[in-house]
Amino acid sequence: MKPDEIIQRRVARELHPGTLVNLGIGLPTGVSQFISPHDGILFQSENGIVGMGARPPEGMEYAQLTDAGGSFVTAVPGAATVDSATSFGLIRGGHLDATVLGGLEVDEQGRLANWMVPGKMVPGMGGAMDLVTGARRVIVAMQHTARGRPKIVPHCTLPLTSTRRVTLIVTDMAVIEPTLDGLVLRERAPGVTVAEILEATTARMTVPEDVPEMDIRAAAG
């Protein structure tokens, strides 16, 4: 199984039936393929749709129905469209159950940096700061390391997206929960040892006696 798929499958199990969820562009978007349509989970795209559906078949795209990356999408039955102010009212007012976002760094305080690399990449924060600050739960979905360099670090060196402590970090190696007392290693990816995880992590992390293997089966429908 590809590292991304491990992450996506594990994140899918975190989403609660009947709730509103925002998936970031890229790896997080792929989480939706591991969600049962019977769960009644609605995906929000911050450009103004609640109940975003999959990409339409070739030739059936519609120019005025797109996601936050500008890609063509569909609307599920029972979808609603809203303007940007209301879309962010949903995000900032605590109406979004979860956001799943990629990350560049997460630190021991559970703070996420994912919007800027000074001098290199200055795309703008888009909706990321609103999502991380306002969603009820923030799930970071990312590779554990970037070209061998650990991304879970003692202190973020990149500009923060929010000072808020994220809810959960899901990587291709581990599930880590940021708590008031610091990071706690909760799960290992299939075939990965605790030692390997610690080796790939520069942040301090509490390791409970029992660190079970991730469950990456499809969530119950």
Binding site: G40, L42, G78, A79
Partner: protein, 217 residues
């Protein structure tokens, strides 16, 4: 998907002493069957946040007449002398808020904002005891967000996802309240199957609505 419940089942969810937003403007666009159910359940000590208290025995006026209410936050109580009498008698505490500020305070709660900065009311009784914030030397009246345990709203149409559409001047405070209540209960005139309402016809996304009231028989 949401199963529709009866007005009395909805009323049973609401404890005495709760803070409740109720949609409507002079009883137009109010959830009348929910109000009846609250009266029938003999609720006590409610705080009502609404534009007004309706007319005597009409709309929110029924809750006033039945003695369910101990506190009101509204912009206008002029057309309900019972509210005014109860206020003067000290039976109901009334906080009067300019109507535009009331709408924005409710919206601020629902949209995660820290409050409202407005010129309305500056230098008047409405500013008494309120915070003034200076921005670039200019004074603004600060008004805090208004939260509620419950929002009871009325809609013209819902689907079983809870998506709501309003009609004409029955819209009024219902959309902002549906964003702001911790638990949102909607009384629609009709409930359509999921998929029967186009996305652009939805005024309030269903994720905001916790309970739908079943259609009147």
């Amino acid at each position: 998907m949401k199963r529709a419940i009866s007005p009395s089942a909805a009323a049973a969810l609401i404890p005495d002493g709760a803070t409740i937003m109720i949609g409507g403007f002079m009883a137009v666009g109010s959830p009348h069957r929910l109000i009846d159910a609250l009266v029938a359940a003999d609720k006590r000590d409610l705080t009502i946040i609404a534009n007004d208290t309706g007319l005597p025995g009409i709309g929110i006026g029924k809750l006033i007449a039945a003695g369910c209410v101990s506190r009101v936050i509204a912009s206008h109580i002029g057309l309900n002398p019972q509210t005014q009498k109860a206020m003067i008698a000290g039976e109901i505490a009334v906080e009067l808020v300019p109507q535009g500020t009331l709408a924005e305070r409710i919206r601020a709660a629902g949209y995660g904002l820290g409050g409202v900065l407005t010129k309305t009311g500056l230098g008047t009784l409405a500013a008494e005891g309120q915070k003034i914030i200076e921005i670039d030397g200019e004074p603004w009246l600060y008004a805090p967000p208004l939260f509620a345990d419950f929002a009871l709203v009325a809609a013209e149409r819902a689907d079983y996802n809870g998506n709501l559409s309003y009609q004409l001047t029955a819209t009024n405070f219902n959309p902002v309240m549906a964003m702001a209540g911790r638990i949102v209960i909607c009384e629609p005139r009709e409930i359509l199957p999921i998929g029967a309402v186009p996305p652009d016809s939805v005024n309030t996304p269903g994720v905001l609505v916790d309970h739908l009231i079943e259609r009147a028989v």
